[in-house]
Symmetry: C2
Amino acid sequence: MEKTCTPGIPDSAFIRGDVPMTKEEIRVLSVCKLHLDANSVVYDIGSGTGSVAVEIARLSPNIAVYAVEVADEGISLINQNAANFGCKNIHVVQSLAPAGLEDLPAPTHAFIGGTKGNLKEILAALRVKNPKIRIVGTAVTLETVAEMQNALKNLSVSDVDIVQVSVSRAEKVGSYHILKANNSVFIYSFTLSEAE
Amino acid sequence: MEKTCTPGIPDSAFIRGDVPMTKEEIRVLSVCKLHLDANSVVYDIGSGTGSVAVEIARLSPNIAVYAVEVADEGISLINQNAANFGCKNIHVVQSLAPAGLEDLPAPTHAFIGGTKGNLKEILAALRVKNPKIRIVGTAVTLETVAEMQNALKNLSVSDVDIVQVSVSRAEKVGSYHILKANNSVFIYSFTLSEAE
């Protein structure tokens, strides 16, 4: 795929297997809401297929992405997608976060796409690594919405932005187009502040 | 505002007056669906406040943006927002498109945020300037959806992507948050192909 200077790779360009993947529009909005700069150090936690890691890594060769994923299939997909897009700045870490984060360089930003119920522990670990980190997390289930709300109550944060995004995509059926709804997703974005 | 390497400036950072503005999430998705590169020449047609022009111009100093707008208030806002964000690569053109496009450099990309009912004529003019141009247009009204559908029937296009995006934003009310719905917007993205 041709190199562009923004995120926005179509979903079909990624190798997906059976692993759930954050869809194009949610991926684009999540990456942009991180407010990355050309030297960011980013954790992609629950990296899945690595699609978010790839979008971020392609923004600048000086960005470092640590794709943290526990499942074997995910690790294999991340490696394949990173290789397909020529992303040498993606570092794959097989671990169930927050385990495995201790030894990594301090992040400036983190995207949380999956937590396996460890959101609170992951946020605590991120705060130890960088008490001013910018975090974006998606919630597809109402249980994750509840986890996020509970976590935010106990954190000192700024630049909070919470949106629910519902996308329907026109799909061709014969010579007609129908609108096919994707699952609605909540995107939580916030920056940790030091006062706590 | 700090410089980031993606679009995603909050709405509140723009001077708006009474001119309607494409909201953050729609702006971000529209810019990313253009698939810009660092040397793109972009028309922003119906530029309004210039918010899309600013997002694009900040991606690279080598990008040239032509912000085309007919209203005096819009022209003033585009100039103010371009100056506030230090975008020297935004060229303001006061005209009712497609008038005013003849003398501009050929575009690689166009964003159509407003047409004043001239969509068909604008698309025809863009095709003359560049028969392989990438175009993204938003439709807030069902009349514009109809115009887009009619226009697409008569154009030879590739990489067509049509999505309806509905965003609700959490707003603080006392110590609670309520979800406030933005208007749902259709985003049309396509690339003209030469066969016609």
